[in-house]
């Protein structure tokens, strides 16, 4: 356990990237949104929806790929086993996602209490991600972190193990499969059924359930790739 904590510490020892920057960028995105909607409030009344929340997710996904390509090789040189590195990093990703989701929940409550920061802003309450139950809200905030971070880590590991060829083979295959699937759906005229199915799904399943399943698959696949990765 101490070994796992020590390896997790490799990611947080220089905390600027893992903690300071994601939140700094989120706050700057929030401020810009508040200023813009304050300026146009008289012209465009009503609720103001924005997707600025995505910034923190993207910053952390990029961080996750960078950490994989830089911290992992360093850890190997320090005698850390691949398994240990992956376990520690995955646990940190999980704990981080929940902790960040709790902070987002608090910000959401603040946004609700202040009338959308005084400008009817729906920054933390954008449609689709806002749910009433506080526990469920934490899950809905946390899962996209897991989804993006594990997929991003998986792609970075593909690069470490098989180089650019491996990464592009995988991306190419993914694009090809997706394209073939949509061609098939278009040809058979299944789009309406798929649309109806999506509409029938409850919001938590769409924004948390299915992405969590993909995150879990990426996490397990990542373990398979890292066990023979020799950067």
């Amino acid at each position: 356990m101490t070994r796992i904590l020590a390896v997790a510490r490799m990611h947080t020892v220089a905390w600027m990237n893992a903690i300071f920057w994601p939140w700094a960028i989120l706050v700057s995105s929030l401020l810009v949104n508040i200023l813009i909607f304050a300026a146009i409030r008289d012209v465009v009344p009503g609720d103001h929806t924005t997707g600025g929340l995505a910034s923190i997710y993207l910053v952390l996904a990029i961080n996750s790929a960078i950490a994989t390509s830089q911290v992992f090789p360093f850890a190997l040189g320090m005698g850390v086993a691949r398994r240990t590195y992956y376990l520690a990093t995955s646990l940190l990703t999980l704990v981080g996602a929940v902790a960040y989701a709790v902070v987002l929940l608090l910000l959401k409550l603040l946004e609700g209490a202040t009338g959308g920061f005084g400008v009817d802003l729906l920054f933390f309450r954008a449609p689709f991600i806002a749910v009433d139950n506080a526990f469920l809200q934490i899950v809905v905030y946390a899962v996209p972190f897991l989804f993006l971070n594990f997929v991003s880590m998986f792609v970075a590991l593909l690069y470490l193990r098989w180089g650019t060829n491996g990464m592009f083979t995988f991306s190419g295959a993914a694009i090809l499969l997706g394209g073939l699937a949509s061609a098939l759906v278009t040809w058979r005229g299944y789009w309406d059924e798929i649309g109806n199915w999506l509409i029938d799904q409850p919001v938590p399943a769409l924004v948390a359930g299915y992405p969590a399943a993909v995150a879990a698959i990426a996490a397990i696949a990542g373990l398979g790739v890292i066990r023979r990765a020799n950067p």
Binding site: V7, A14, I66, Q70, F74, G77, G79, A81
Partner: protein
């Protein structure tokens, strides 16, 4: 105690054989010099022992167990690479903090002392360190780790002469107090020839030599004398290199040379002179390649 046992160790990358049937052991509390030309397989060998790569064939034991993904034995090893990259957000002090947490025998006070010796700024971003400072950081981590098995893969890149001497002095002093096994891979052979107790010489993926440094000193000799006499004398020893200067010639011969050999040389007016370790390595690793021999004898 045996630290590393390798037998029939072979590593092939798609079309290159980096190591071919290499067998040797590393004993505890010894300083080894891992020598050889670029591409001889030195780094590959160290990567295999430190569990960074998988072997193609053969067996390899680190403290009695296969090293790959084996944290129990890997925690006894530290590998300082010439091209070691640190996470770009790290400062020097972050590297030391992390090393302190991951390496069981880490001596923080000693690391601080080395930091002062090498004049390394604690709060400098690692990506802003010069080549020499980066090497110094590796040296500090490698020494303060006090790992039972320490690998230095060309640790001196960009280090000035003063810092290199500092490294050799510190290594020797600390080794005397805290004996351990050190493997030093280097091209600056003369600089470390007093330091290393045993030489492992790799050439094109094969182990050419595994000998005590002391024993090796008289093992390769330059014999200089009249060309005819030299021809006669040289016949009994493998010849690595020859140069002619008029009626005189100089041949580099491989021993062993006993008292009888020395006597025969003296009778024929042949002067026997031991090569430095570096010269011996150069001669041993250029045999049979006339084009390259020319390059070296210039």
């Amino acid at each position: 105690m045996t630290v590393v046992t390798a037998s029939g160790l072979t590593k092939r990358y798609s079309d290159v054989t980096a190591l071919a049937d290499v067998s040797f052991t590393l004993k505890e509390n010894t300083i080894y010099g891992l020598l050889g030309r670029n591409g001889a397989g030195k780094t590959t060998l160290m990567r295999l022992i430190t569990g960074q790569d998988l072997l193609t064939a053969g067996t390899l034991e680190l403290f009695g167990e296969p090293p790959y993904e084996n944290e129990r034995v890997l925690s006894n090893v530290v590998f300082i690479k010439e091209s070691q990259k640190y996470p770009s957000v790290y400062k020097v002090r972050h590297v030391l903090t992390v090393a302190g947490q991951l390496l069981p025998n880490w001596d923080a006070a000693y690391a601080q002392e080395l930091l002062r010796d090498f004049r390394l700024p604690l709060d400098r971003d690692v990506r802003k360190l010069s080549r020499g400072m980066l090497s110094a950081l590796g040296v500090i981590v490698g020494l303060a780790a006090r790992a039972p098995l320490t690998f230095f893969d060309e640790p001196y890149l960009g280090l000035d002469a003063v810092s290199r001497q500092l490294f050799y002095d510190r290594l020797l002093a600390d080794y005397a107090e805290h004996p351990r096994t050190v493997v030093l891979s280097t091209h600056l052979i003369d600089e470390v020839s007093d330091l290393i107790e045993r030489v492992l010489l790799l050439d094109r993926g094969r182990l050419l030599l595994d000998e005590e440094t002391e024993g090796l000193r008289g093992e390769v000799m330059d014999a200089t004398g009249p060309a005819d006499a030299l021809d006669e004398f040289a016949i009994s020893h493998p010849e690595l290199h020859r140069q002619r200067m008029g009626n005189f010639a100089r041949a580099t011969l491989r021993g062993p040379f006993d008292q009888g050999d020395r006597l025969r040389a003296k009778e024929r007016g042949i002067d026997l002179e031991p090569l430095t370790l570096q010269q011996a390595v150069v001669r041993l690793t250029t045999v049979g390649r006339p084009d390259e021999e020319k390059e070296y004898s210039r």
